[in-house]
């Protein structure tokens, strides 16, 4: 972190990664709905068609099954497609190509093929898009062996991880947060990559380990600051960055210090990644826990439209702080 670099918004970090990788490797190609002249509904591909042309940056029809299916077929023959599915909710249309085909093609063939495809998609609530344009479905893809799943929050991480995802020879589901594209953060000028499967300690602490990702990480950091300032509770905040493969070692190391665990994510608790992390710790490292762990997640309900309802449904710094107090107390 020697050079923090200039401040960029999250969308620009994504765009930077795409641009750098497209310059670096001709086999990197993009397609998706409205990603050409329009630059994607969240501006993640602005200017890329102008720079790289209509062959390498393609506007696709509203055909998620084929958008993802073509990605798999082109990856099998050596391209590195990065396709955008406009909303993570629409990944359900594309999920046969991702979960049935991309994830399994190598294994089913006895290791004969590689599928280096990246499926980018924005999910998440907080913008009043209601139940079918706001879901966080990282757990769905984490469940499938053969897929890597990345859920970055900070622009710098997003750029470095997307570059690695594109270079990875396995299919990667890269989930961005829709209400987060204008979030600002520092990003160095020089190129950098981060390994998939390595977590990052975002804040050092000694009383509680707080694991959080995607946009919820912002609320986690806010809660941690507040508890430190107001109540003297020292919270260590970990961003796994990649949910599969999961860097459990980083969490375990922190638990060795704190013995207390809170996990906060915007997706639902039931069968979620937070539950998986707790299960893995309970199965093999229960002795590390001094208190029962807690999860802070979305209320199990389709996400409502109305602002006070949506606010009530999603985790925020207050919920997270309350959970930490329970675990500490």
């Amino acid at each position: 972190m020697s050079d923090q670099g200039r401040e960029v918004v999250f969308a620009q970090a994504i765009r930077t990664a795409l641009r750098e990788e497209m310059k670096r490797d001709e086999s990197v190609i993009l397609w998706g709905q409205d990603i050409g002249v329009y630059g994607g509904v969240y501006g993640a591909t602005t200017g890329l068609q102008r720079e790289f042309g209509k062959e390498r940056v393609r506007d696709a029809p509203i055909s998620e099954m084929a958008i993802a299916g073509l990605a798999v077929g082109s990856a099998i023959l050596g391209m590195r497609p990065v396709v955008e599915i406009m909303y993570a909710d629409f990944l359900m249309h594309a999920s046969d190509a991702i979960a049935n085909q991309a994830a399994k093609w190598r294994y089913m063939s006895g290791g004969q093929f590689k599928v280096p495809a990246v499926f980018r998609s924005p999910g998440g609530g907080g913008s009043g898009y209601a139940a079918q344009h706001s879901q966080n479905i990282e757990a769905w893809f984490c469940h499938i062996p053969g897929l890597k799943v990345v859920c970055p929050c900070m622009p710098r991480d997003a750029r470095a991880l997307l570059k690695t995802a594109i270079r990875d020879d396995n299919p990667v589901v890269f989930l961005e947060h829709k209400s987060h594209y204008t979030h600002r953060g520092p990003m160095p000028k020089e190129e950098e990559t981060l390994p998939l499967g390595k977590a990052d300690v975002k804040r050092q602490g000694s009383d509680v380990t707080l694991v959080s990702w995607s946009r919820t990480l912002l609320w986690a950091l806010e809660a941690a600051e507040r508890l430190q300032d107001e109540e003297g509770v020292s919270v260590e905040v970990i961003d796994p960055l990649t949910l599969r493969p999961l860097d459990l070692d980083c969490i375990l190391e922190s638990l060795g210090k704190t013995g207390r665990l809170v996990i906060a994510h915007e997706s639902h608790a039931f069968c979620g990644v937070g539950g998986e992390i707790i299960a893995q710790i309970a199965e093999n490292h229960l002795d590390l826990l001094k208190a029962p762990p807690k999860r802070v997640c979305a209320v199990p309900c389709p996400l409502p439209y109305s602002e006070p309802l949506e606010k009530a449904a999603l985790p925020d710094a207050d919920n997270i702080a309350a959970a930490i107090r329970k675990v500490v107390g």
């Binding site: 086999s27 190609i29 062959e55 390498r56 393609r58 696709a60 029809p61 055909s63 099954m65 084929a66 993802a68 299916g69 073509l70 990605a71 798999v72 077929g73 082109s74 990856a75 099998i76 023959l77 050596g78 391209m79 497609p81 046969d96 190509a97 049935n100 085909q101 093609w105 190598r106 294994y107 089913m108 063939s109 006895g110 290791g111 004969q112 093929f113 590689k114 599928v115 280096p116 062996p145 053969g146 990875d168 020879d169 396995n170 499967g197 599969r244 493969p245 999961l246 860097d247 459990l248 070692d249 893995q280």
Partner: protein
């Protein structure tokens, strides 16, 4: 008939016999002796499409097939022992026992894989064609599927994108009349299936799939056109499967004698034999010798496959990840 034409017909005849005997071995020996798991989808009756179309491909071309893949893969040259071994789940199988009958693939023959999720190989084939186009490589992609796949959303999305983006892919629909148990009239709003191509500005042809030489000629012409123009095409071949959808099919959805009648009339293997005999192209005794020779070849491959070792359960996850194996979360 010219001598080279007779040679060609003999070559195709042998390939069709190989497929027929391979599948009869599955049906008549491996099934009762429980030598494979799950089910196996046979193409008995459909061999002319597989052999005619595959021989119209060049070595540089790529191939996607379906759950009913034995015809396509064997015609393309898949080693019979490796195919049998795969179906029996042996480590000597072409996919080391990871795939089985429904997932035969062989990168060395450019068989990119069999896809038993109906319709899902169609977008993948278009994607592979896009890769060839972007890389400036020669070759086309040929994707086989049954008529049932024509009703999937994936199929229509991919037809549109293949035509829109000028992708060098030929879609071959093997219309065997039944999608498992459902006859066309029950599932197709319009039975002129090839006309669906017109909606995407793509050439669509409906052709007889029981005469292997005709299939070859049709495909040769169509593949050549796609090679020249880079445009996709849809070929619908009328064919018929004489056996059930898979090896566990009771076939109560069609009259008992229907298959026998079609078999008697249209069996693509008998069709070639009739051509031989009627036109005195091949000595009848030679035809018998050929049959025996292929039967022995299939039997020998089967016996070798039967001796193949089982995969090591310790290596269960091998081949899941490209590059280094990921173990930190498992």
């Amino acid at each position: 008939m010219q001598p080279e034409r007779i040679e060609q017909l003999l070559h195709y005849y042998k390939d069709m016999l190989r497929i027929r005997y391979f599948e009869e071995k599955i049906l008549n020996y491996m099934l009762p002796n429980k030598l494979f798991r799950g089910s196996s989808h046979l193409c008995i009756g459909q061999e002319a499409v597989a052999v005619g179309a595959i021989h119209a491909m060049e070595a540089e071309d790529y191939l996607y097939t379906t759950h009913r893949s034995h015809g396509h893969t064997l015609a393309r040259g898949m080693d019979m022992e490796a195919a049998f071994a795969e179906i029996m789940g042996r480590t000597t199988g072409v996919c080391h026992g990871r795939g089985g009958s429904m997932h035969l693939a062989d990168a060395s023959l450019r068989i990119l894989g069999a896809n038993p999720v109906v319709g899902s190989n169609i977008p993948m084939a278009a994607g592979s064609a896009l890769a060839l186009k972007m890389q400036g490589k020669p070759g086309i992609v040929v994707a086989f599927f049954g008529e049932g796949a024509l009703n999937t959303g994936a199929c229509h999305e991919a037809f549109n994108m293949a035509a829109l983006w000028d992708l060098p892919v030929v879609f071959i629909c093997e219309d065997n009349q039944y999608a498992i148990s459902v006859p066309e009239a029950t599932a197709m709003a319009d039975e002129d299936l090839h006309e669906r191509a017109a909606a995407y500005g793509m050439e669509g042809l409906r052709l007889d799939g029981m005469n292997v030489l005709e299939v070859y000629e049709y495909c040769r012409a169509s593949f050549g056109k796609t090679r020249r123009t880079g445009r996709p095409a849809l070929l619908v071949f009328d064919t018929y499967r004489f056996v059930g959808h898979h090896t566990a099919d009771s076939e109560q959805y069609r009259p008992k004698d229907e298959a026998i009648e079609v078999l008697r009339e249209k069996d693509p293997v008998h069709f070639v034999e009739r051509e031989f005999l009627e036109d005195c192209l091949v000595d009848p005794e030679k035809a018998v010798d050929i049959r025996l020779e292929i039967k022995e070849e299939v039997e020998a491959a089967f016996q070798r496959a039967l001796n193949g070792p089982w995969p090591d359960p310790e290596k269960l996850t091998e081949g899941l990840w490209a590059e280094s194996e990921v173990t930190c979360d498992e």
